[in-house]
Symmetry: C2
Subunit: 450 residues, 2 copies
């Protein structure tokens, strides 16, 4: 398994050295054997902007278009900045419309028009159409290249049409059938075209119970449909059922990876932009706000502890144990929250499940809290010999686990209900809550007793 | 976008009510219009095992096979337990070999043989072959159904062969070309078969620079290749290059979702099994070990604080501020760790990048620590008027952010190097480290000063 990755790395290193030595003919020959994604990797690994540009300049036009689609953001920005408008228009012309739209959408506003002016009228119109959809919807990830035939065509006519436009249909899986007003009425898998008699009309080979996706559907929901129904390529329709485009599985794979990365980063208190390779400067900008917010909540926790300054002055060892209560509550709360956030993101949890879920979480917290409370109380007694302190520790730990179950379940569901992304914001509320309430319960009980 | 989900939910509710009312003919009629994935959803939503079994019994054999593949684990276990061996063998016969193998692999060992005894010799041999591969490798997710032709065949012969085996080749995207010893030598996209002249040999239409995957490649690495090269269907080869199977993108989508879920749950201190719908009983079993481990590390933190019992007895308010140092360090450490773990999982970070990454993290920590240290020191001074305490707080916070940068970077890279999954284990080391060292630095400096 390491073989493939190592082989890739070796080839990259070899080309890198040849390039550094200025053996351009040899580099060009080797690049011709590489997949565009591997050339993109090679470009990304070059440190200097200047080197990236010189290597990019060696590529054939067709490959150059694919590579600019596949490179990382840093390399892409550098290349785009140095590419002339008409070279860029050529790239846009060669790309599929969805990739072309992503590229144009990433340009400064004032440059979009000047580049599109150099492109063909058809490309210009299609890209402008696609730019109008929000990027995180079905419309924002679809492409305009669809193989569509009207009802009444024969199989032979369909095959002739595909043959005539073979360059555009390089990745089709299905042919869509539309009526005379452009409404989607059926779909024919490519495989079935091979098996069918050429003389029969498409109506006899098409499926009519196909799955389509509305153009304004959120990309995450579109991805869920692909996963659920094992789809490869899905027609996209406008609100009155007209075929407007197509989404393919390779774009969905990117969506799934992006959404998962977003959720993972959010749980760590980071935004999606944090995943971009970045300088320390931008790392500071991305992370400082979250740490600043946490400084606020940590200060609220400190203020809670300060309420009990006298108790701690009397019994300093309480300061050691209060953290056990807070940390255990935080961990249990994050466990619950992680499950709920993931369930919400995958559409497995609906609002009406909240009651049942909370019940299960409280039961789990009661059992875990009883075990951990007993263990920690026994441990504290063995350590300090202070029975009061030990009992208070055990009870406070149990109570904080119950608090954690409530916060971990209801905070994400509540945030989702008011339209805030639970993956991004749940963590801070849950851990701040279990810290503050954990300190309050433990120190409050101690203050009453001593 | 909610429309689709609501429509689904409505249809499910309607069928559910009809079923509860015992209107079996009507239920059967409606089920015929549903996709197997929707029927699986319906089954999953039924609460009682008995109801699930009665609904499942209404399904046509072909649909029943697809549904058992699509249902959740709970429903599947119930159905499998009550299905006779020969009914189950029928299901296995109808499924693709990869799904059949997953199903058989989920049965108790003693039942596997008795079910396979009822299947056809071909199915039996193929499933037994596939069971031999570890489930998380290319061999464990591939299927045996490949459209393979030998060199020298004509396009017409290939099409005739596909036509003859249309029932097995229901989802092919490519035809593979092998030589007489079974070695993979080329691949023909289906689309090209439609466009090619029927009389020419396959050598003239096949690609020879296709991407293949070794049978023992880790499934996560296989998924990375699909993502990188935008693949749909990839031939799997044994160590000497013979074609042994095929992996399709729908299985890869499942792998990506599963790996992402695993990473997300691990960051929350949970294993993959936590994502299964479960009773409170199993939730306790899954989560208690992690909380128990955290109780240990929290106790180590408490022991650190206890070292400075005298300091706290003298200056009780220190107990309020020590948590700010620990919490900020923990949050910063988790930010760094999350990025590194994700980068390692996606193969974007290699061992040799460690030095450069650590440099960037330390620089970021220095800047963030300076800002947050100043703010917290100013806040503490405004609150307590104690200059010594405030300066110590600011410095300790800065130092703990530097500690967090080191732990957050090196712990995951180190764990990966010794073969431990960094996603599962990094969190506990990083947060325990920042807690303990944060307390030590802050209280230690205070103890020296007062």
């Amino acid at each position: 398994m390491a073989d493939l990755a190592e082989e890739d790395a070796m080839r990259r290193t070899q080309i890198g050295s040849l390039f550094a030595e200025g053996r351009i003919t040899e580099v060009r020959r080797r690049l011709a054997d590489l997949h565009s994604a591997d050339i993109a990797d090679l470009l990304d690994k070059l440190d200097e902007a200047d080197e990236k540009l010189r290597l990019y300049a060696l590529l054939e036009p067709d490959v150059a278009s694919d590579v600019i689609r596949d490179v990382g953001d840093t390399s892409r920005d550098i290349i785009l900045e140095h590419l002339s408008d008409d070279r860029l228009a050529e790239v846009v012309e060669r790309l599929d419309t969805d990739d072309a739209t992503d590229l144009i959408g990433g340009l400064p506003h004032e440059r979009r028009g000047t580049v599109l002016d150099q492109a063909s009228p058809e490309t210009r119109r299609e890209v402008e159409d696609l730019l109008a959809y929000p990027p995180d919807t079905a419309g924002g990830i679809m492409k305009k290249e669809v193989a569509a035939v009207t009802v009444g065509s024969t199989v032979a006519e369909v095959i002739a049409q595909i043959r005539a436009r073979a360059d555009i249909y390089h990745d089709i899986h299905n042919v869509f059938v539309i009526d005379f007003r452009g409404h989607l009425v059926g779909v024919i898998p490519l495989r079935r075209l091979i098996l069918a008699d050429t003389g029969i009309p498409v109506e006899q080979v098409m499926d009519t119970d196909m799955i389509s996706i509305p153009v304004d559907l959120d990309q995450e929901h579109a991805a869920q449909r692909f996963e659920k129904y094992d789809l490869l390529s899905v027609p996209v329709v406008d609100p009155i059922g007209r075929l407007v485009g197509r989404i393919t599985i390779d774009d969905i794979v990117d969506v799934i990876a992006e959404e998962a990365t977003e959720d993972i980063l959010a749980l760590g208190g980071l935004g999606l932009e944090a995943a971009r390779p970045m300088t320390a400067m931008s790392a500071i900008r991305v992370r400082l706000p979250w740490l600043g917010l946490n400084l606020l909540t940590a200060t609220a926790g400190a203020a809670t502890v300060a309420l009990f300054e006298e108790t701690i002055a009397t019994l300093a060892i309480a300061a050691a144990f209060m953290n056990i209560v807070a940390i255990q509550g935080g961990n249990a709360g994050v466990q619950t929250m992680t499950l709920i956030v993931r369930g919400l993101a995958l559409g497995e949890i609906e609002g009406k499940d909240a009651g049942r879920l909370l019940g299960r979480e409280l039961l789990t917290a009661l059992a875990n809290g009883a075990v951990l409370g007993l263990v920690s109380a026994a441990m504290a007694y063995a350590w300090t010999g202070n029975a009061q302190l030990s009992v208070v520790l055990g009870i406070a730990l149990l109570v904080n686990l119950l608090i954690a179950a409530v916060l971990g379940s209801l905070v994400p569901i509540g945030l989702k209900k008011v339209g805030v992304d639970p993956a991004v914001s749940s963590n801070v509320f849950v851990t701040a809550g279990t810290d503050i309430l954990g300190f309050f319960v433990f120190l409050g009980m101690l203050a009453l007793l001593i």
